[in-house]
Symmetry: C2
Subunit: 228 residues, 2 copies
């Protein structure tokens, strides 16, 4: 997808970082290479020391951007959800028909990620894999409630709410629009994971996409639930 507005920057809660990684070359290298490394070795094995030596910088310099690797993960995943939200709004803005709009919305959040040349230091395809494999670790912590209060998850929640609103537009009588929206967003990550690792408990394959499954699920549910 082409980014028509050249000056668009995904806005991340400033409390997540110590220094904005977008503000320097080192910062961008931290983002770029951390995406590659977390993909290669997984989040638990990834350390700031390893990242430092990979980018020919120093552990201590990375700490000037992020307090710890958990905050870096929050940054990366927030960026991803912000980027997805941008695509969602951009691609569905002009659709007036509620059903078409919802269908397209589900497609966007459940599809396999394609590269976006607009943000040169970020590989969205790999970032999507990180979100699939690591996102839940960012909120399954003892500090969730504090961090939620600080607003670390606003972008994600806003995205889910957009889907919820699109659901309500299609069927105002449906009782569980937010639960259905959160099920689709989280469930999409899960189905992509199952496809790769637990194929026996999913019907998603190379031929059958999570998008098909979820569009079928949502519309059939909403059709049945008309008028209560």
């Amino acid at each position: 997808m082409e980014r028509l507005l050249q000056s668009v920057k995904i806005a991340i809660n400033e409390k997540i970082y110590v220094k904005d990684p977008e503000s320097s070359d080192l910062g961008k290298r931290i983002i770029k290479e951390s995406i590659l490394m977390i993909n290669e070795m997984g989040f638990e094995s990834f350390t700031f020391k390893k990242l430092g030596s990979r980018i020919n910088s120093n552990e201590s310099s990375i700490y000037r951007y992020f307090e710890n690797k958990h905050k870096l993960l929050l940054y990366l995943t927030s960026w991803y959800w912000g980027w997805l939200e941008y695509q969602l709004v951009f691609e569905t803005n002009s659709i007036s028909d509620a059903k078409n709009k919802l269908s397209r919305s589900i497609e966007i959040i459940t599809r396999k990620t394609k590269e976006d040349s607009a943000f040169s230091h970020i590989n969205e395809v790999l970032l999507n894999k990180i979100v699939i494999n690591e996102y839940s670790k960012s909120y399954l912590t003892t500090e969730v409630d504090e961090e939620n209060k600080e607003g670390y998850f606003v972008i994600y929640k806003r995205l889910v709410n957009r889907i919820s609103l699109a659901i309500q537009k299609v069927n105002p009588a449906y009782l569980y629009p937010s639960s259905l929206a959160s099920t689709v967003v989280e469930g999409a990550l899960h189905q992509h994971f199952l496809k790769e690792h637990f194929a026996s408990i999913t019907d998603c394959t190379k031929e059958v996409t999570p998008s098909e499954y979820f569009i079928n699920l949502v519309f059939n549910t909403l059709n049945q639930n008309f008028n209560g």
Copy 2:
């Protein structure tokens, strides 16, 4: 729930432990107290050293039961899924009507856990909370594929497959029974989590249960998908 068969033991893959914790008093204390501690401090902060001092034992003694805390988590969560499966089979075995059986099945896997006095050293209510907060960490690792080959996740997958089969019985024409089953099992944990921490993106509350939402979701989907 009463355990009618007094000799029932939840069978866990033997590769998960070094020595069966059910085989000794120390082993049972390890299980009992680790459940309490993981609930109190979360899985990342929990260590074998802390557990040792809590049960008046030694770190090194715990290593004679479990290779590491990841394996202990696999043990605890496998036990939970095995226990749930036992309840599922037991409570739905005699139901002949496919719809009733599926409805009851969904109820069982999505409901809030009640204590089961049958296994005295295991607090199922707290174990359920551990599963909600930590289960995905047990498979979101770089070793999933190896561990899956070793059979560490069989109980979970078997449970999902049981739901999938119940779905197929209700509507043989439905195209995504496994995806729907895995969505319900994983989604139930997620909705319970959202209820506690991200209330704005769920409709589940004290009054509205995840069971209601999922039963509505599954049956409406299956009704629409009859005959193709």
